[in-house]
């Protein structure tokens, strides 16, 4: 269905080869997963399929890409619209209409399909993706998962043979992600649709993949079955790391397989570890009767909680549950309608300038919002000056976090992980008492995530600081947090130690916990520790 023959790609004004001599054949009805570190060219590979690269972006392309017998060199992306549906990284940026129904019809209108045919197809897709309840809704008011479904739907109305998706679950909570992926799985099996996905969170997609294309960042790509690739790959979901840690001969890709392989191991009697109580310090933040509403709409119902020194609190919940509102209120950028926040005796709303920096550090969803310098060096210098610390200190922090960034790079040219690293080092160089992060792992690969986890744990334990992090990433929470607050519809529905909260709900359990239940282990390290205790 898709044939890459000897494809090489270089972007103009760049010396780096994105792809080098890639040969790849994707058959009909295959679900192919593209993996690789951030910035390695996954998106470019996807956009090569329908010719957006190089028709839309420019770039030097050699070799040939053939889609269903049509060479993309000869046809513009619009000419392949009936054959390929493409869903971008951020579907909201690609929407061209106001309501769900109009959005679904857009591509068919553009290709002059008769109105009665259009009607029928729209109804089909509304049913297929269970969108019929939302048909007249304004797209801007939909949740992340619903938007993703609309984006997939608007590609499917064209009856394409190929569906291409760029990180379809990165912004979704675990349940919404599962919904989207199970729809894709069904399409592949029922309609023999060919699907190509790029995704970082392998734990979510790996069980659906037929084959993997692993791009290593230097232009080379390896193609193989998931088992082959993941046996040796650095990029691997926790379940594969678990198999490696247990010294299993084969690796399993689904929880079901892995549970079969580890049955004997699980049933051993393990000594319960000496209950290790981490001492938390005094209260840093107390939230008293906090209430937030936007106009008539409640974002957060009256909430009381407190956060102590040394705690790493993960705030979880569906898209739109009120996580960001809580975080922003604590950071003092939105004014609560009732109640308030006490941060070491002061109100975060009144903090300004240097005092603010030394009390609260905040990393927004788009870390680049914080950056305005022309180079990394300039940003770091600004950080040094702002915080009155020795010059070069901020860059040092950055170098520990993400080594090997040239100080002359423009912040825009950094990869997602590097940009987060830069924003984080700017904030950390002020050594704030509270650090708040709003969904930091969108688009981060495993390596960048590992570095982030290490830095944050260090920061909380070494300096006795509090960290609050809103995230959908269960694996991150399992590795990082000491406490989880679960929010639903503006209310705290659960609040307790990570292990209790994560083990009590199957949807939010990390992979290791699912495999090893009923043993109370969340991450691979827990398993290794348990083995060490029982020689």
């Amino acid at each position: 269905m898709i044939q890459f023959s000897n494809v090489s790609l270089t972007y103009p004004n760049s010396t780096r080869t994105i792809l080098d001599g890639l040969n790849l054949t994707i058959k009909e009805g295959e679900l192919v997963l593209v993996i690789g570190p951030t910035g390695c060219g996954k998106s470019s590979l996807l956009r090569l399929i329908n010719g957006l690269v190089p028709h839309h972006t420019g770039g030097i392309l050699s070799g040939d890409i053939c889609v269903d017998g049509i060479s993309t060199q000869l046809v513009k992306p619009g000419g392949l619209a009936h054959l390929i549906g493409i869903v971008g990284q951020n579907p909201l940026n690609g929407f061209v209409s106001d309501t769900v129904e109009e959005e679904l019809a857009f591509a068919m209108e553009a290709l002059n399909i008769a109105p009665d045919v259009m009607r029928k197809r729209v109804e089909e897709v509304l049913d297929l993706l269970s969108l019929s309840q939302l048909r007249a809704r304004s797209i801007a008011t939909l949740s992340g998962g619903e938007q993703q479904r609309v984006a997939i739907g608007s590609a499917l109305v064209m009856h394409p043979k190929i569906l291409v998706l760029d990180e379809p679950t990165s912004a979704l909570d675990p349940i919404a992600a599962e919904e989207v992926l199970s729809i894709l799985h069904r399409l592949v099996h029922d309609l023999s649709l060919t699907v190509v996905i790029a995704e970082h969170k392998l734990e979510r997609v790996i069980q659906f993949a037929d084959r993997i294309v692993h791009i290593n960042g230097a232009g080379e790509a390896i193609v193989g079955s998931p088992q082959e690739i993941l046996k040796t790959s650095q990029i691997a979901p926790p379940i594969v790391h678990l198999a490696r840690a247990l010294g299993l001969k084969d690796i399993a890709l689904s929880v079901r397989e892995m549970r079969r392989m580890t049955q004997d191991f699980r049933n051993q009697n393990f000594l319960t570890p000496d209950s290790q109580i981490i001492e938390f310090g005094s209260t840093l933040i107390s939230v008293k009767g906090l209430e937030i509403s936007y106009g008539q709409k409640f974002a957060l119902l009256p909430t009381n909680t407190s956060i102590r020194e040394g705690e790493i609190v993960a705030v979880m919940g569906r898209n739109g549950a009120g996580k960001s509102s809580l975080l922003r209120a604590i950071a003092g950028v939105i004014t609560p309608s009732k109640g308030g926040i006490d941060l070491l005796g002061s109100n975060p709303l009144t903090l300004k300038g240097r005092e603010r920096r030394s009390q609260i550090g905040f990393i927004p969803q788009e870390p680049s919002d914080l950056l305005y310098g022309q180079s990394v060096a300039q940003e770091c210098k600004q950080g040094d000056n702002d915080n009155e610390i020795d010059s070069g200190k901020t860059f040092e922090v950055l170098n520990q976090l993400v080594p090997g960034i040239s100080p002359h790079t423009h912040p825009r040219d950094l990869s997602e992980g590097q940009r987060l690293g830069l924003a984080l080092s700017l904030v950390l160089s002020a050594n704030p008492k509270v650090l708040i992060l709003d969904e930091p792992t969108r688009g981060l690969d495993y390596q960048a995530k590992g570095a982030l986890i290490k830095t944050l744990i260090n920061f909380a334990q070494l300096y006795r600081r509090a960290i609050i992090i809103a995230t959908h990433d269960v694996e991150l929470v399992a590795e990082l947090a000491t406490r989880v607050i679960f929010i639903a519809d503006g209310e705290i529905v659960a609040d307790g130690p990570t292990i209790e909260i994560l083990l009590s709900s199957p949807a939010f359990a990390p992979q290791v916990a699912k495999v090893m239940a009923p043993q109370p282990w969340l991450i691979v390290k827990d398993v290794i520790d348990a083995i060490a205790r029982n020689p």
Partner: protein, 268 residues
């Protein structure tokens, strides 16, 4: 109750009003048109990013008036008349004859630049009103495919611009959290750089999405649901055209001496 007219209606309305303002050259007309337009926007705008953009249009218009007045007063040929104050004259090299910075500020100079500035600002406000009343996405659907490139440009301009306002708010919030005090001109750079970057990325995303969904590929377009032109649309358009023509006749009635006076001033 909010009106939901045809996407072209408000644009016809605003273009007619803008031409009316320019033709009539009258402060009273332009201010009353702006007043009416503001009321219409407050009453009818949708709860969407483009709906929010009107407040910013007002700010931009105020800025334009301010700039026009300060440039008009500071630079240029002096007009004789009632003296208000005298500014020191900036010495310029001899190869720049006829240009003067500073000097005597007369009442006539001040009022005429203020007049021009307000007319300019009013036209900006009127166009901003149409942008905040019309969903750019609905506008795209009624534009003919023939002007494909133009259609893409219009959609990007009109949908990215209002989104800019939302991003501006978000970025300012983030910068405030970095403890940056956002005052003065230098702070604009801190906001403008991430803002423009994002606007560019969004525009490219949108253009790519439209391209890959076949927009403009077929010469003909079908309509999923026809956008009807209703009586309300005709009424709005007629009302605007009446304003336009009445401003036209005004030129020949009361406005004529005024036009002549400005003409003579220019030719002097």
């Amino acid at each position: 109750m909010k009106l939901m007219p045809h996407p072209l209606t408000w644009w016809i309305w605003s273009i007619a009003l803008a031409i009316g303002i320019a033709r009539s050259n009258s402060l009273a007309i332009s201010l009353s048109v702006v007043g009416v337009a503001s009321l219409v926007v407050l009453q009818n705008r949708e709860d969407a990013p483009w709906g929010e953009s009107f407040n910013w249009t007002l700010k931009v218009a105020a800025f334009v008036i301010l700039m026009r007045v300060s440039i008009g007063v500071l630079i240029g040929v002096p007009i004789p008349g009632t003296k208000i104050l005298t500014l020191p004259i900036l010495p310029l090299p001899t190869w720049m004859p006829g240009i003067r910075i500073g000097g005597t500020v007369t009442l006539e100079r001040l009022t005429s630049t203020l007049h021009e500035g307000i007319l300019l600002g009013s036209i900006i406000v009127i166009c901003g009103a149409a942008a905040s009343l019309t969903s750019p996405h609905r506008l795209l659907r009624v534009l003919p495919v023939m002007i494909y490139e133009f259609g893409v440009a219009v959609v990007i301009a009109t949908s990215v611009l209002p989104q800019l306002v939302a991003s501006l708010y978000r970025i300012r919030q983030a910068q405030k959290l970095r403890g940056q005090e956002l005052r003065g001109l230098s702070s604009w750079k801190k906001v403008a750089i991430p803002l423009l970057e994002e606007a560019l990325a969004r525009s490219l995303d949108l253009a790519a999405a439209m391209d890959s969904r076949g927009y403009g590929f077929s010469r003909k377009r079908s309509k999923y649901r026809p956008t009807p032109w209703l009586v309300t649309d005709s009424l709005i358009a007629i009302a605007a055209l009446i304003t336009l023509f009445s401003s036209w006749s005004l030129i020949f009635a009361a406005g004529l001496p005024l036009v002549l006076r400005t003409r003579t001033l220019v030719t002097k």
